[in-house]
C-alpha cells in the first residue's frame, strides 16, 4: 500500500517493549519511536512509516498502525526477531532503568524510502543513528522541513556524524540532559545558542513534564506540558510530541515562528494523551474533538 500523498515521512525504531512502572507491568507491547510519532501525526496529516520489524512482529500490531491510517509502504520485514526493549520506571515516572536492549533486526536496518516518499515535504528523523538519518536525507528530493531527534548514545559514539545531521536539518529536538551533553554547557539557553551555531533554524529542548523550550535566532518560546492527572506510562512521550508537532505543521502548510509554536502546542497535547495509557492504547481511542478540547484548555492555562 503506497499513498502518493504522504505529506510526512517518519523514520525511527519499532520495538516490542516490556515496561514496568510502580503501578503496573506490561509485556511485549507495541513501542518504538516511529510508532508513537506516526500515531500522533496521524491526527493531522497523511504519514508514512519507515522502519523494520522481524518475522515475529504480530499482525495485530500492523492492524494498530492501519487503524491510525499510517501508510506502511516503507515498513520492512526482515529475517529475525523484532527489536526489543525493557525498562523499569522509578516512582517519579521520569527516571527509568533499562533492563534489556536487543537490537535484533534493527542492527542491520537501512531505511529506504519508497519512491513516493522521496517527494514528501516533511521529514521526522526519529532517534536512530545519525548515519542512518543522513542516509534518509540523501533520498529526500525536496524536503521543506526536516526535524531530527537524537539521544545521548549518538552524542557519545557518533558526534561527528550527528553534527553533520544537525547542520542539515531545520530543527533539532533533544532533551535537557542531551543538550547539556552535546554542548558542554549547563544553562539551557546557552545550550540552545550553541546548537543554533551548528546550523538549524530551530532547537527544541524537551523537559518532559516541565514542557519544552523552542529557540531560534528570533527568540525563545516557552511551551508548557499539559498537566496530566495520572501518567500510566511516559514511554514515547517525546516521540508523540515530535510526531504531533510535525503532523500539525504539515497540515497547516505554513512554516514560520508562529506556526511552529502553535504546532508544538498540538504536539504537547497529543503527547499528553499518550502517557495516560501504555503503548498506543490511549491514542487508539482518541477522537480529534478531544484533542482540540484539550488544546484549548492548554492554551487557556498559558493565557493564550
Amino acid at each position: 500500500m503506497t499513498d502518493d500523498n504522504v505529506q510526512l515521512v517518519v523514520v525511527g525504531s519499532i520495538g516490542i517493549d516490556t515496561i514496568e512502572t510502580p503501578f503496573d507491568r506490561r509485556e511485549e507491547i507495541l513501542g518504538g519511536s516511529v510508532s508513537y510519532a506516526c500515531a500522533a501525526a496521524s491526527f493531522y496529516t497523511t504519514v508514512g512509516m519507515v522502519g523494520v520489524v522481524g518475522e515475529d512482529f504480530p499482525d495485530e500490531f500492523l492492524e494498530v498502525y492501519r487503524g491510525f491510517g499510517i501508510d506502511l509502504a516503507g515498513l520492512q520485514r526482515a529475517a529475525g526477531r523484532t527489536f526489543r526493549w525493557s525498562g523499569v520506571y522509578e516512582a517519579d515516572m521520569v527516571n527509568r532503568r533499562t533492563l534489556l536492549t536487543e537490537l535484533n533486526v534493527f542492527e542491520a536496518f537501512s531505511p529506504e524510502l519508497p519512491d513516493a516518499y522521496r517527494d514528501a515535504p516533511f521529514f521526522l528523523l526519529g532517534n536512530i543513528s545519525p548515519e542512518l538519518q543522513l542516509h534518509v536525507l540523501e533520498q529526500a528530493r525536496a524536503p521543506r522541513f526536516v526535524v531530527a531527534d537524537t539521544m545521548d548514545l549518538w552524542i557519545n559514539i557518533a558526534r561527528d556524524a550527528l553534527e553533520g545531521v544537525i547542520g542539515k536539518v531545520d530543527m533539532l529536538t533533544l532533551n535537557d540532559g542531551e543538550a547539556r551533553l552535546l554542548t558542554d554547557e549547563y544553562n539551557l539557553r546557552q545550550c540552545a545558542e550553541s546548537i543554533l551555531d551548528m546550523g538549524p533554524t530551530y532547537v527544541v529542548i524537551k523537559k518532559g513534564e516541565h514542557g519544552a523550550m523552542l529557540v531560534s535566532r528570533n527568540g525563545i518560546a516557552l511551551l508548557p506540558a499539559y498537566p496530566v492527572g495520572e501518567t500510566l506510562d511516559p514511554t514515547g512521550a517525546g516521540d508523540a510530541f515530535a510526531g504531533g508537532f510535525m503532523g500539525a505543521l504539515a497540515r497547516d502548510g505554513e512554516i514560520d515562528d508562529a506556526h511552529v509554536r502553535q504546532a508544538l502546542l498540538h504536539g504537547a497535547t497529543v503527547a499528553s494523551f499518550g502517557v495516560q495509557d501504555f503503548s498506543l492504547d490511549r491514542l487508539r481511542t482518541l477522537s480529534p474533538d478531544l484533542v482540540s478540547a484539550r488544546l484549548r484548555e492548554l492554551k487557556a492555562m498559558i493565557g493564550q
Copy 2:
C-alpha cells in the same frame, strides 16, 4: 519610621548568609525570606517588613532596606546575633546542601505588627513557623488577601498548626517536593487538589527554573520561569517571586483569577533578576523599566 499607607506587610526571616556556588563564594551577605520578598514587592507597592535582627546587624544592610523604600517600623532588634545560614549549591544551581543554621535571635522571635500595619490589606506570611504565621494573622484586622509560604520542616514537625494556617489563608505557596510531602500524593495536579480541600482559594506550586502552577477551583494556570542566561545565586528566588506577586496584586487592587495570574508573572519577572547576582545586589540597581521590558519579553515567550 511608620508609614500609615503600608499596603503589604511581609513577615519572615532575616539572615546573614554565606553562600558557595560552583563559581563563586560570598560571606556574610544580606539574606532571609523577608529581605528578598520586601525588595521585590517594593517595585510595586508600599511594603512593611516584620522581622528580627541581632545587635550585630550591619547598618549598611538597613541602608539597603531603606534604599528599596521598605518601611521598617516592624523590624525588631534583639540582644544577640542575627540568624545565620550557610549553604553550598551543586553544579545544577538547584540542589543545595546546608552547612550551618544558627537561629540566634530568630529562635525567640515573635512577630508583632505596628498598629498601622494591622489595617493593611495584603499580607505575605513568609517561611516561619505556622504558629508565628497564625500569630500574625490574629493581629490583622481586615486582610483582603493573605499568602502563606511554608517548607518541609514545618510539614514534618508542625503539621497541625500548618493545616490551621492553610485553612485561613487565600493562597498557599510551596515547592513541588513540599507539596508532595504535605499531601502524600505524587502527581502535582492531585497535590494541588488536596491542598485546595484544606481551604485556600489558590495554591501555587513552585518548580524553580521550570516555573510554577497556579491552581484554583476554576482551573490551572501554567506560569513559566524566565530563562535566565546565567544564574549566579538562586537563593531567595521563591521569596522574590512571592514578594513581586503580592506587590503587583496590591498595586492593581483587584483580586480575581486574571489579576492573580498577571501578578504572578510580575513575581516571576522580578525573581528572574534576583538570581542574576548574590543577595539583593541585582535588585538594588534594577529599574522599573527593565522589569517592564522583561515582563513583556516573558509574555511574548508564552504567546500572550
